[in-house]
Symmetry: C2
Subunit: 302 residues, 2 copies
């Protein structure tokens, strides 16, 4: 599981700070999460292959999280993309994208699927053999969802030496991987755990931006390996957080602690702060394992 | 009259090439012309004061000419702009901008005026004491206008020595500036041209992008001081120009020659060409005074 931060600043793009967008590489998927203005250029800069992106998850319809979407869709068209593209986001996203394509008389030559969200409860929005994606209802000035990405538990690993010693026929290997006890060539039932290793631990990633401090999300993200939680403000401006429906670094850390997350990544910084280290410091008073998002930074969680 | 090129490439923004946007500084106005994705960052990079922009002229609703507009409007809001903003562009521009502001629940705290264009004929769209702006109907895949910016002729300049010798009372100076003959203190009518100098020559700038080769525009832009004309293609791909409704460098030069323009600026280059000098070379076979637009380049025409 790899996460590339394309942009992690709030409000408006600047020469040295891009607005929210990330690429999560998980089980051969390349998920794009949010798409602020300039995301397509950041994708080029960090050499993300455009064609690998088949699913885009938009948290909410504030410009710093989605004004780069229609440009990316148009560029996919110009690059003669053929693969389907699925877009998940709040109701309204389909109308605003299709209106712009209509006005430009530039319909895509690939299939575009919109999955519009309206629920106030967590729901499964994507699933295949390897990954599940759930919404995380957040509380912001407009309807907003975070997203929880979960690898499914993989197969158990075969312990070949033990299997041979137990005299199990190769025809049963698939059953063993799936966790079943099987009979050996002498008709004796062999305990699966004696001849296999546990599957590789499945990873999970929760993206939570933008939101006011909201403890309701803790059960949804409990034990998540990596939590990205917005931290627009430091303590000096904590009074602005509830008013603007954003969080402080300390509040983000409090959520990470309560959820018993593995790692907390902070981001969505207000541009009023020149020194990001302060975010880490303030968060560390609540939670130890804190990382700072920075544009272009790659987190490798394997 | 000063022109800053913020972006001059066609189709999609890249790490080293921005899509169309320019700032024309003329008679204390700061006109923004087209607004591709990333324009607000280019404005910051080239230190254009956001508050000086009060009028934005959009040629057409293809993404590389206007996907940066809604982000700029939103950023103006975040910067607590108070000045009115006037936007000129094809019909539909109001709907698409206001839909995005509505979805973001982020109405501007300054007044936003849309001047939607539908005419196939040139029309005066802006006028004040110093400047006039006319549309230049172009022919592209969607409804498109170029824009002609004309300084109005200023006052005549007083020749103080000649005025004193002619014994003209100071009360008549304003009349003299306006070009009238006036009586001197002895009641003799004095020929205006004998006591004044001609006004400073007024400048004009024509922006023509995107368009197929279209001779109809020549009478509209005759004798323009500076003509920006798109040149998407070189001769090697001239066959693509009519099909995509774009022009070649040679065709742009042909328009400049027929219109007897002072200077031709080429731009809107296809990204397939690594060497821009070829555009100048090919244009020069038709017209001598050719300049190449480049991102960040400042042209000073005083």
């Amino acid at each position: 599981m790899k996460l590339t931060i394309l942009g992690c600043y709030s409000a408006t793009p600047r020469t040295m700070g891009n607005t929210t967008s990330q690429v999560l590489e998980i089980k051969n998927h390349m998920f794009l999460i949010d798409c602020g203005e300039g995301t397509q250029v950041q994708l080029r800069r960090h050499k993300v292959k455009f064609n690998r992106i088949k699913h885009i998850f938009i948290s909410h319809l504030h410009g710093d999280h989605f004004y780069g979407l229609v440009g990316l869709i148009s560029t996919f068209r110009l690059l003669t993309r053929e693969a389907d593209l699925h877009i998940y986001g709040p109701k309204g996203i389909k109308e605003v994208v299709t209106l712009q394509l209509k006005l430009a008389d530039s319909w895509t030559n690939y299939k575009l699927f919109f999955h519009e969200l309206t629920s106030e409860k967590s729901e499964l929005v994507f699933e295949d053999d390897t990954v599940e994606v759930y919404t995380i209802p957040l509380e912001h000035r407009v309807y907003t969802n975070g997203y929880l990405f979960k690898e499914k538990t993989g197969d158990r690993k075969l312990n070949i030496d033990a299997i041979q010693e137990a005299k199990i026929n190769i025809a049963y290997y698939q059953k063993l991987k799936q966790g079943f006890d099987v009979e050996n060539e002498e008709g004796i039932l062999i305990d699966n755990e004696k001849v296999t290793f546990p599957p590789k631990k499945s990873k999970s990633y929760a993206f939570c931006s933008d939101t006011v401090y909201k403890e309701d999300i803790v059960p949804l993200i409990r034990n998540v390996d990596v939590l990205y939680h917005e931290s627009t403000f430091l303590e000096a401006h904590a009074h602005l957080a509830p008013k603007t429906k954003h969080s402080t670094a300390k509040e983000a850390a409090s959520i990470a602690k309560k959820a018993e997350a593995g790692t907390l990544i902070l981001g969505h910084y207000s541009s009023r702060y020149p020194d990001l280290e302060m975010f880490r410091e303030e968060a560390k008073s609540n939670f130890e394992n804190v990382e700072l998002a920075q544009d272009g930074k790659l987190f490798n969680f394997n």
